[in-house]
Symmetry: C2
Subunit: 112 residues, 2 copies
DNA sequence: GATATAATCTACTCTATAGTGATGTAATTC
DNA sequence: GAATTACATCACTATAGAGTAGATTATATC
């Protein structure tokens, strides 16, 4: 990766913040992770996340507005899917970062 | 990147969410970006972000607790710095994602 | 057309946190 | 040791959003 520092405007910082915020709730992360297997209906997501249907629907709406997921309606059902592959990289990067830190913390307690 | 789906516990989703949340405020992002040049004092950060000292201090504390930045105290000053290089990759990835989307949106309006 | 089902929307409560001005604290200078 | 400087914290207000229950809309089935 380049890692050159960008010049960001006020609006850019706000867009960035909103995008990060979309990933900041456990329920929304659960939904994103559930969708990593592929397209699913709201009912399936309700079942897999263990959330209430209204709540799941609300979070899906937020994810849709943040364009993290996309929606396809067919008959009675709404099918949701990950909108962009960068979501995979993003979650992977963040998970690795946390994991590295936890491992480093653990290392402080055991002789190396 | 691997992109294999992880199995995450409830606690893992909460940790992930908290980490993302730390990046979800424009002021905190401004601070992170200001620190990309290297270590800075609170006064410098106040000046460069245009925020009030109390607010900057509060956000720095949140970033410190989220372990996104680290602090070094010397004399009257507190010097803050980026704690982990993955921050660079993370911000870069998110910026690119947003930029790609904006370019795609723009493309919808101009013939290709 | 009546009924059932899937999803969304609305209204509400509750909690978290952003921003702000005043105050507190610790190191430094005189 | 009094004043100054740099930063942190407190007290307060305003706002955002998470969760929930119930109403509403749209589609399908009889």
């Amino acid at each position: 990766m380049s890692n050159t520092k960008r010049h960001l405007s006020e609006e850019a910082f706000e867009m960035l913040g909103e995008q990060f915020k979309a990933f900041s709730e456990p329920m929304r992360l659960k939904l994103v992770y559930a969708l990593m297997d592929g397209e699913k209906t709201v009912s399936e997501l309700v079942e897999q996340t263990g959330g209430l249907q209204a709540n799941v629907s609300k979070h899906l709406r937020m994810l849709l507005e943040a364009r993290i997921v996309e929606r396809r309606k067919q008959g009675l059902n709404s099918y949701y899917n990950i909108a962009n592959d960068s979501v995979f990289d993003l979650c992977d990067l963040m998970c690795n970062s946390i994991q590295d830190r936890l491992e480093a913390d653990l290392g402080s307690f055991s002789a190396r």
